[in-house]
């Protein structure tokens, strides 16, 4: 049982690592984005746990917990989107794909890319606008600590823009080589 468990965990971890590793095609900025993603989630976990422990033990709750957890979680989500797009790991209905004729499969790929670019174009537009407004006023948290929020909004805008970059790279590769990984 123990060996099976360890093997299952090891196999799962290896497969996952292979899936999560950005690969040769990923740019340095994508790798940096993934790194920030992991760190922000770890901080969200630490802040949430520390708040409850300090609140219950010492009677002092962290005043910045709500703002900080929210902005960091948003940062992690926006910065993880390039990774998801790079791997085409979005949730989709693939039931009918094996039965689609080749031209329709090609249409499916292009429809996905076009719709994705439209959606992320709109999200990026909004995120850049939000970040610009935030930077202009050097937006900071309303909580007691008053830490700056604008870097998180800039990171979100960056995440959306990198995702657009991934879309464009994939499209370009498809146009030039007929396949993304060529």
């Amino acid at each position: 049982m123990g060996d099976d468990d360890n093997r299952a965990r090891h196999d799962g971890a290896s497969a996952l690592r292979a899936r999560l590793t950005p690969g040769a095609g990923a740019t340095l900025i994508e790798r940096a984005a993934i790194g920030v993603c992991g760190v922000t989630l770890f901080v969200v976990m630490l802040v949430g746990a520390a708040d409850i422990v300090s609140g219950e033990v010492f009677g002092v709750f962290l005043p910045f917990k709500v703002d900080m957890s929210g902005t960091l979680a948003a940062t992690a989500i926006f910065l993880a989107w390039p990774l998801v797009q790079r791997a085409h790991a979005h949730i989709q209905v693939d039931l009918f794909l094996p039965y689609l004729p080749r031209p329709l499969l090609r249409l499916s790929w292009w429809a996905s890319q076009a719709t994705g670019m439209l959606v992320f174009g709109l999200i990026a537009y909004g995120a850049i606008d939000l970040a610009a407004e935030s930077v202009a006023i050097r937006e900071s948290s309303a909580a007691t600590l008053g830490y700056p929020i604008w870097p998180a909004k800039v990171a979100c805008a960056l995440g959306a823009v990198i995702t657009i970059g991934v879309f464009l790279l994939q499209t370009l590769r498809r146009l030039l080589h007929g396949a993304e990984d060529a």
């Binding site: 360890n6 969200v44 992690a76 990774l83």
Partner: protein, 435 residues
């Protein structure tokens, strides 16, 4: 165009896009953007896309999603599942169909440490299926049992499905999470009772096991499940007693799982890093669908579709029973083609307002919906859990065998659903007693 016509057209385009493989989040947000552009104008589209994604992603209430995912990822890597399964197997070794029962009990236990049905199904397939096959259990029914028991994570807190429902409807997350406990336990008990009945008629599904574990062995195995019990008490107890809000429960659960894993020396830096990145990736996937769904529901509302549909339901005097029958039929039908998250995001925005117009208890309705999406997760041909099991089984079981083997569990699920529909108190009692 009337609201109903606009909404109908939008659904037709959406389903076409989904059928040709356009990702669900893209299709939802894309159709909503086009619909809003034609019904309200470009400025409204830009404003919506500026505010909705960031506002939703930064909402503190929903920080619980990545944290629950992280908690499950750490618990999985720490081998907590192995301890659970070992203990359940040892305790039930003398019972006919004991490995089925052990799988159900262990999956119910793991459900209290992970909100993801797919993670539970795939990990248990690697662990429990080889054991079942070693003792000449029916491969299809064994795989069906693992897939079905995986759905317990959808009801037993921390349930990501319940958090998503709260996100879509504005219902309190804590009450919804607690509401899933009794239906989750009821489902697990029904699976075990149902399996006993089925084995009476189909004894070849689970031949008797001659290897027995001694009592000292059982006690030793049972002693290893303290980690899951601790996590369960920490997370569910904290939410139920009101010691901390569900948003904090996620962080506490993840930190608790990490502390346990470190104390047991079962996790290293690389595994933790993988867990963090996996959580970020899964959360990003889920949130894109949710963002698309919320913008789509905004379009349905602005176009007048929801108002028209509500008026239609009221005018036809469908009543609560008729509406529930329609909901069950809709989920069983769509569930054959859509995964759980997409199903939730597409259907809840227009079903929830109607349920409130008809005066239904929102907590009860939430439990019914989550139960339906969990049934959908094991309904062939699409059921997400079925494919999670098939992928992890590595050809130890055929697709046809699994589809046949899961049927007894779908029958049990339908009986539980009927019970939940007949007795709403199963879902609503615990939330009413919360601290």
């Amino acid at each position: 165009m009337s609201g109903l016509e606009q909404g109908g057209l939008a659904f037709a385009v959406l389903l076409t896009m989904l059928a040709i493989g356009v990702p669900v989040g893209f299709a939802l947000a894309g159709v909503a953007a086009a619909g809003l552009y034609f019904s309200v104008g470009a400025t409204f589209v830009l404003t919506t896309f500026k505010s909705a994604p960031y506002t939703l992603a930064s909402d503190y209430t929903f920080v619980v999603v990545p944290m629950f995912v992280l908690m499950g990822a750490i618990a999985g890597r720490a081998g907590i599942i192995g301890d659970l399964y070992g203990a359940a197997q040892a305790m039930l070794s003398r019972v006919r169909g004991g490995l089925f029962m052990a799988t159900i009990v262990a999956q119910a236990g793991f459900a209290a440490a992970s909100g993801s049905t797919v993670v539970a199904s795939s990990v248990f397939t690697r662990m429990a299926l080889p054991e079942m096959l070693r003792f000449r259990y029916d491969p299809g029914v064994s795989a069906g049992c693992i897939a079905a028991a995986g759905t317990l994570a959808g009801l037993i807190p921390p349930s990501i499905a319940m958090v998503l429902y709260a996100l879509l409807t504005g219902e309190p997350v804590g009450a919804l999470l607690i509401a899933g406990i009794l239906p989750g336990i009821l489902t697990a008990v029904s699976y075990m009772a149902g399996i006993r009945v089925f084995l009476h008629f189909r004894p070849h599904w689970a031949p008797p096991i001659t290897e027995h574990v001694s009592w000292p062995g059982r006690i030793r195995a049972l002693g290893k499940v303290w980690s899951v019990l601790l996590l369960m008490i920490l997370v569910i107890g904290g939410i139920y007693s009101g010691l901390f809000p569900p948003s904090a429960a996620g962080a506490i659960g993840a930190a608790g799982a990490l502390t346990i894993a470190l104390a047991m020396r079962r996790i290293d830096g690389g595994q933790l890093w993988d867990g963090l990145i996996e959580s970020a990736r899964i959360t990003a996937m889920i949130f894109l669908v949710i963002i698309g769904g919320l913008i789509f529901s905004r379009f349905l509302s602005i176009s007048g579709f929801i108002g028209d549909l509500r008026a239609l339901v009221v005018s036809t005097e469908l009543g609560v029973a008729g509406f529930l029958a329609m909901t069950v039929a809709l989920f069983l039908l769509l569930g054959m083609f859509l995964d759980s998250v997409s199903l939730l995001v597409i259907a809840v925005p227009f079903l929830y307002p109607i349920s409130q117009t008809l005066g239904m208890d929102p907590i009860w309705f939430a439990v019914i919906i989550v139960k339906l999406i969990e049934i959908a997760a094991i309904t062939p041909p699409v059921g997400l859990n079925l494919y999670a099991v098939l992928a992890a089984a590595e050809r130890q079981v055929t697709t046809a065998g699994l589809f046949r083997g899961v049927l007894p569990f779908i029958a049990i699920e339908m009986a539980v659903l009927a019970l939940l529909l007949a007795v709403p108190a199963i879902a609503t009692t615990l939330p009413r007693t919360m601290g």
